[in-house]
């Protein structure tokens, strides 16, 4: 039985990783209705910035806030320079711009910091908590904790602050928001900045476990998208729950279902998503869009 729980814990660990990036993805989706395929690479780039600061001798606890600030500015800048010019264009055009950004950032990181694997300081203590034969690795617990905190902060920000209300309004109807005097451009830049910050945090959380290299996040991105789709893109809680479900389901299927094994386990999130989307197109926690003709 302990082994089963160990696998579930392992699944939660993977799920937390997917959820951390999915939070950043859901942030941008809420504003612009598009999935930023370059979110993972932006997170990876921020992680390299943090690594560079720590490598230059700065303490981790100083480098962390500084990196988050830089990532925020970088995210806002990307929105202003790369996304704004195609703002009115069809949705797919913007998605392809993010594909271009993906390729660019990945290659740039490889060019600047090379492809050698880099270790990343782990803010959480090594070792694990051993409860009844089941090992709860501190790193994983740390990731789960931070993801829960970020989820809570985002939920509070969106539901209970004026800024959050403004963001939600811009997300739904930018034209009408403008007529109420909301500076939509600034809000979008703010949204991208926040998403970049959440992405940076995800990268910094994940790097100690996956080791830092330019392809740190490319594997995580696909699972994060699956998690957000499952949980419902427009709900921070849904996204995290979606991530955990994908992680646990995938790990258990890989471990226990013989036919699937560890190579076909990518099929598990796929099946879950198809089933959920056929039953609830807006995802588990997403709100159905109310359309009154």
């Amino acid at each position: 039985m302990a082994e089963f729980i160990q696998q579930v814990v392992q699944g939660l660990g993977s799920g937390a990783i997917y959820a951390s990036l999915a939070l950043a993805l859901s942030l941008i989706y809420r504003f612009t209705g598009i999935v930023n395929l370059a979110q993972g690479e932006m997170a990876m780039f921020s992680t390299y910035i943090a690594w560079q600061l720590v490598h230059a001798g700065m303490s981790f606890w100083l480098a962390l806030p500084l990196t988050l600030l830089i990532s925020f500015a970088g995210g806002a800048l990307i929105e202003r320079i790369i996304i704004r010019p195609v703002e009115g264009a069809p949705e797919l055009t913007i998605v392809i711009v993010t594909v271009g950004l993906f390729v660019f950032v990945n290659a740039a990181a490889g060019f600047i910091w090379s492809f050698l694997i880099k270790s990343f300081p782990n803010p959480f203590p090594d070792g694990a908590l051993n409860v009844g034969g089941v090992q709860f690795d501190f790193g994983t617990l740390g990731v789960l904790g931070v993801v829960a905190v970020v989820m809570g902060v985002l939920y509070l920000l969106f539901q209970y602050t004026k800024l959050g209300l403004g963001m939600r309004a811009v997300a739904q109807d930018p034209a009408s928001a403008r007529l109420a005097g909301i500076r939509v451009g600034r809000m979008l830049a703010l949204g991208w900045g926040l998403a970049a910050t959440a992405g940076a945090l995800s990268g910094i959380l994940v790097a100690p476990l996956l080791f830092l290299d330019p392809n740190l996040m490319s594997g995580v991105l696909i699972y994060a998208i699956a998690a957000a789709t499952l949980g419902g893109f427009d709900s921070p809680i849904g996204v995290v729950v979606g991530g955990l479900i994908v992680g646990v389901a995938e790990t258990l299927a890989g471990a226990y279902i013989g036919f699937i094994g560890s190579d076909l386990k990518i099929g598990v999130p796929l099946v879950i998503i198809i089933v959920v989307l056929l039953l609830r197109p807006q995802g588990l926690f997403g709100r159905p869009t109310v359309e009154r003709a």
């Binding site: 993977s14 390729v103 050698l116 694997i117 270790s119 090992q135 476990l209 696909i222 560890s262």
Partner: protein, 425 residues
Amino acid sequence: MRTTTRWVGITLAGVLLAAPLAACSQRGANNGGSEASGPCKGQQTTGITKTSIKLGGTYPLSGPASAYGEIPKGVRAYFDYVNKEKGGVNGRKIQWIVRDDAYQPPKSVEEARRLVEQDKVFALFQTLGTPPSTAIWDYANQQKVPQIYVATGASKWGTDTKHPWTIGWQPNYVAESRIYAKWLKDNKPNAKVAVLYQNDDYGQDYLNGFTKAIAGSGVKIIAKQSYEVTDPSVAPQMSKLAESKADTFFDITTPKFGSQALAADAKDTSWNPLHILNSVSASVTVLKPVGFSHVQNVVSAAYFKDPADPQWADDPAMKLYKAKLKQYQPGADPEDQFHAYGWTVAESLVKTLESMKCPTREGLRDAMRSQHDQTDDMLLPGVLVNTGPGDGFPIESMQLERFKGSRWHLFDKVVDTRKEFGPVQ
């Protein structure tokens, strides 16, 4: 259907018009290669002149596998060194064109065709990856262009007989598995082995080699887990393997996943198997991020000197490599095993070029297939390059090494797997 008839009309008109124009075409003008005269009569000399040799290679400079795009820097450093300080090979300066195939076989074929037909290279040197090289070898052999020292350890480069123009270089994965199998049979006759392998040609070649080599012995594989290159982490597989409580762990991973596996093994205090790490991930640059204290007593095998390993710090060949790399490729990090790999394979090529009887493609093909105890400064002492009529594997000997403190310690002696186990089937 009125519209289709109109289209047919147009294409017919086109064909009639096109036929007479076929005569004057760029095509006929320049596809004739040049031939040699004298003793090497009739052999191809495209891409080679008295003073120059033009070579071409394909690497994944972009895309998910772009980590391997570092290798050309090591190769170029050696060629620049030979061209500038040794006057080239027998007086011929080496020009080496690198094309990016992003590890996509269709792109590899396209770039290989560009190198052969447009750039008119003398030979293809280093096409990286088994799928890309497999996509190219039919074309290379049909065009009778040497595809020398492909950058993959798949065993098929040596076992295949239908592609005389293509040859591998580094020890093949089956040979390396055999060394580990032999060592286990000798030292841990009833070892229970757990295997983590990458689910592609590279991983399966290792696994098949190891499975064949331990057949009929006390050593048994009791757990196997594969991972995909697109997986974010191998931690789930490692925790599954830990359940098997195997006393030996055979780790067939590429660098990033190697570090993850080493870290997962160290973190799981309840499972401390003998960790055998395949040579692809055996560079100190893979172990250092995990922390030296966590990787004590890991066993691997090597055939060339690891630049990140302090034991070779004052080795003359290593000093030369590090100096020349800094001089000709300033940005390149000398500790990166890919740079050292590139430098070493370039050295082997130059030695093979020097040993050519005829300065022709056929000459190179014959030279690469008949090498006797050719040494190479960056190879481990005792590792020699040998090929012959029945032996398509240039390097087949490696030496085991154990990681202690902050470096690898070679132990036992260099094992020539051909002598030890006979040819690879």
